[in-house]
């Protein structure tokens, strides 16, 4: 099928129960948002996986590039002091 005859791709986020975050469940094709929600219902919630659905057209998601991984994430490797567990707390401090 030629690209112009393909329905756009959508990313689907499902909230599994009240109080939890919406989690990325996968993607699907649909002609518009309404159909995307219904398709998501049929494809991703058949086994009671969710109570709420978000969809967003995949083209609106901007992602970091894997090429940037070294510059992005590795500098955090040797900065253990960014974790709260790095610090010794005085015994007098309670409830931390």
């Amino acid at each position: 099928m030629a690209a112009e005859h393909q329905w756009p791709l959508w990313e689907v986020f499902i909230r599994s129960k009240q109080g939890l975050d919406h989690k990325h469940a996968g993607s699907l094709h649909a002609a518009d948002a309404q159909m995307a929600i219904e398709n998501a219902r049929d494809v991703y919630t058949r086994r009671m996986e969710g109570v709420s659905i978000w969809v967003v057209e995949s083209k609106y998601i901007h992602a970091s590039s894997p090429d940037d991984a070294t510059a992005f994430y590795e500098p955090a490797n040797d900065k253990v002091y960014r974790h709260p567990t790095f610090y010794d707390l005085p015994d007098q401090l309670k409830h931390m």
Binding site: H29, A31, Q34, E38, N39, D42, V43
Partner: protein
Amino acid sequence: MTAALIQYTLHLADDSLILGHRNSEWTGHGPILEQDIALSNIALDLIGQARNFYQYAATLINASGHTGLIDVSVPASSAPGQVTEDQLAYLRDGWDFRNCLLVEQGNGDWARTILRQFFFSAYQTALYEQLAQGRDKTLAAIAAKSHKEGIYHLRWSSEWVIRLGDGTEESHTRMTNALDELWKFTGELHATAPYEQETAAKGISPDLSTLRPPWEEKVKEVFDEAGISYPPPIWMQTGGKEGRHTEQLGYVLAEMQFLQRAYPGCEW
């Protein structure tokens, strides 16, 4: 009364089973993966409803001793008191089926499959809503459970009727062709069969004529949005609910019943 209740229960079961089977013919052939799954889900919903109704019908038939009480023949192979849901689905012949003509019509293209589902769901949701209030507790419970499924079927099929009717020139033409093909079978949805007169008189099932005006309103509303003109009154085909079917049902049964007839009692 039991005879009418059995026939009515079989009618409900047959409607769901035959439409469910027709829809299942799309599995693996849908226009796009997501819609293939959507329609297969609907098929499964309908076949699940049919099972509930057949189980109840089998209970009623077995309790009645099943001879002389009903004029649907039950499979000769079944001993008294041992009719099962599977026998009712797989071993009855065409003239024993009580489904309306609409549900047995061939799938045609996507437009015809959608329109058939829309006409039927618009009828079925209103029916189940009333049936859930009826005097027969088992039928009421099955109807209440199935009504939730039906609402989604109606929503899904309505949107597709609008999408195709209000889409491209080709999709519009396909939808109006489907309408020409199917409209003559819609009158039977609200035509009362003799057994329905009895069940309605007992407060088990609703008076079908009261369901017609809301059905027409729903169809008009969706057709309006789809840019399809509501057809003028025409002569309507009937008979399926009393066992007089179109040739289409034969093809459904030949495929659906083949395995049980070729290998009786086969399980897998």
